[in-house]
């Protein structure tokens, strides 16, 4: 009896320790990032850092403005979602509502495979195929906003497909039957009832994919061109926040190095906001479900 109790409490303690450890890890990373990055703002104002596009960290009078990279990150991510959301949603709907069990299975395993490919492989594929295709189609060098966006679109699509499929599939079947029983067609049911009913889940999936796209480094580095300038054309070169950190990290010292950590802080905050948005969206979708069960 006593031994069993001892075992129980030991197991409990261990689980608690593991949970605690993961919280501590997040906390330490946050503290570390801010301690390493914040000192920059003694020399450069936050405003200048965020809203100047002069990035000349090694000049005689150095410039630490990351606006071009913020714009670059959002441009590439936005364009990627512009491609990935309609396609991903379409595949998700197809899998949840239209395809047979067998073809659903095949699509699902290939989507999962897509999600498991290392980003460096995506990068290689991007260099060889996407950059040359985009050079032919859109002109420029091929290392560009559009190439980076295409790569990111392919990389975020599995998330969007998966979440869209699951949120549509998990809707109560009474919704679908209710619509069909009113004489709506299957297509009307999908577009007017099922997709709107699953929208919170779908939005959460899109934001999740967006988080992945903003944080992605290697693949975009390999096809984006990485010029530290304001991106003005879709076929022109681009540098994102992540690319900025990785590019200069190998040689930067002093304030330059600090400014890279400060870039990391900006990236961190963006992702934090996105995650909070996902949680809010999910919470909303859960309350909607509970409301649907009848108060």
């Amino acid at each position: 009896m006593k031994r069993r109790k001892l075992f129980e409490s030991a197991a409990e303690t261990m689980l608690f320790a593991s949970a605690f450890l993961s919280i501590v890890a997040v906390l330490f990373i946050t503290i570390f990032l801010f301690r390493s990055g914040m000192p920059l703002f003694r020399k450069v104002s936050v405003f200048e850092f965020l809203f100047s596009s002069r990035w000349e960290p090694t000049a005689a009078t150095p410039g630490y403005g990351i606006l071009s990279f913020i714009v670059g990150s959002f441009l590439v991510t936005g364009l990627a979602l512009f491609i990935a959301v309609p396609v991903g949603l379409a595949v998700g709907i197809y899998m949840a509502e239209l395809s047979g069990r067998k073809s659903s299975k095949i699509i699902r395993s290939s989507v999962e495979l897509l999600a498991g490919i290392p980003s460096v492989v995506y990068g290689l594929f991007g260099i060889v195929i996407i950059s040359s295709v985009s050079r032919t189609l859109f002109g420029g060098s091929g290392y560009s906003v559009i190439s980076a966006a295409i790569i990111l679109a392919i990389m975020t699509m599995p998330t969007i497909i998966n979440v869209a499929e699951v949120s549509i599939r998990s809707l109560p079947k009474e919704l679908k039957e209710g619509s069909l029983a009113l004489g709506a067609t299957h297509w009307q049911t999908i577009i007017r009832v099922l997709v709107p009913a699953a929208r919170s889940g779908i939005i959460a999936g899109v934001i999740l994919g967006m988080g992945r796209a903003i944080g992605e480094t290697l693949a975009v580095l390999m096809v984006g061109g990485n010029a530290p300038i304001m991106p003005t054309k879709l076929n022109g070169m681009v540098r994102t926040l992540t690319m900025n950190i990785i590019t200069d990290m190998s040689y930067a010292t002093g304030d330059h190095l600090t400014s890279l950590f400060a870039t990391g802080i900006v990236l961190f905050l963006f992702i934090l906001v996105l995650n909070l948005t996902v949680q809010l969206a999910l919470k909303k979708s859960i309350t909607e479900m509970e409301g649907g069960a009848g108060a």
Partner: protein, 254 residues
């Protein structure tokens, strides 16, 4: 009593889910402007039978149907049947209230909209008329633009009835419409049936024999996929001809 031809005329209806047979040789006529109750123990096929009348069983790919189901003289399982049109004329209310996650107004306007009505004034009229018919208008007239999910269960079910009435059906199928509701909401819906049958043909599945006794004109007793007995409700309850019916209604099993 029976002057007009039956609304539904079903003969030798057999239905299989894969290899297991759920309905066996069902032959029955359903009269118009009356309430027909389907009773029987769980799994006896009464809901399956109800769903053959608007072809909602089509959603299950393993279902196979034989025999004929005539609606106003035309076989609804004939290859040239327009299922969309059938479901427009044969509406259905489900066991669990299933309002769409949108406003009350949009819920009711949904049917008319998918059938091509765009005019705002026409839709306004339909929404009001349907809510009045479903005895819900006075309770909700000030909150038509709020979410339907905020209604109580009983109100949601009446909303679902209004949603069916909005497409101006001819028949209303009800699959245990009050089994998820409290007694007061149940009474409201039962009163509603009394009104609705003046205009519509109603077929209702119920587990509750008192309910069948209160609301229906004719009752069909299903057991193990067979239609055991079909008669006027009073006759079936007070004078059952089949031993199995008698056992069921006297509560000896089921």
């Amino acid at each position: 009593m029976q002057q007009s031809p039956p609304k539904f005329s079903i003969s030798d209806l057999n239905l299989w889910y894969g290899t297991s047979q759920a309905l066996k040789d069902i032959t029955v006529d359903i009269e118009e402007r009356s309430v027909t109750a389907l009773i029987g123990p769980s799994g006896c096929g009464k809901s399956t039978f109800l769903r053959t009348l608007n072809r909602l069983n089509d959603l299950i790919s393993s279902v196979r149907v034989e025999g004929s189901v005539l609606y106003e003289g035309a076989d609804i399982y004939a290859p040239d049947t327009d299922v969309i049109d059938l479901r427009k004329r044969v509406g259905m209310v489900f066991q669990k209230p299933n309002p769409f996650p949108m406003s009350l107004y949009d819920n009711i306007a949904y049917g008319p909209r998918v059938h091509g009505i765009r005019d705002k004034a026409t839709l306004d009229d339909i929404v009001e008329r349907s809510l009045v018919q479903a005895a819900l208008f006075d309770e909700v007239k000030d909150r038509l633009q709020t979410s339907a999910l905020g209604l109580s269960g009983g109100q949601q079910q009446r909303l679902c009835i209004a949603r069916v009435l909005a497409v101006e059906p001819d028949v209303v199928l009800m699959d245990e419409p009050t089994s998820a509701l409290d007694p007061i909401s149940t009474a409201k819906i039962e009163n509603l049936l009394e009104e609705l049958k003046k205009q519509y043909t109603i077929v209702i599945v119920t587990h509750n024999m008192q309910q069948a006794g209160r609301v229906s004109d004719k009752t069909a007793y299903f057991f193990l996929g067979e239609l055991v007995e079909y008669a006027g409700t009073k006759e079936l309850f007070f004078n059952p001809r089949d031993k199995r019916t008698e056992n069921y209604i006297s509560g000896r099993f089921g």
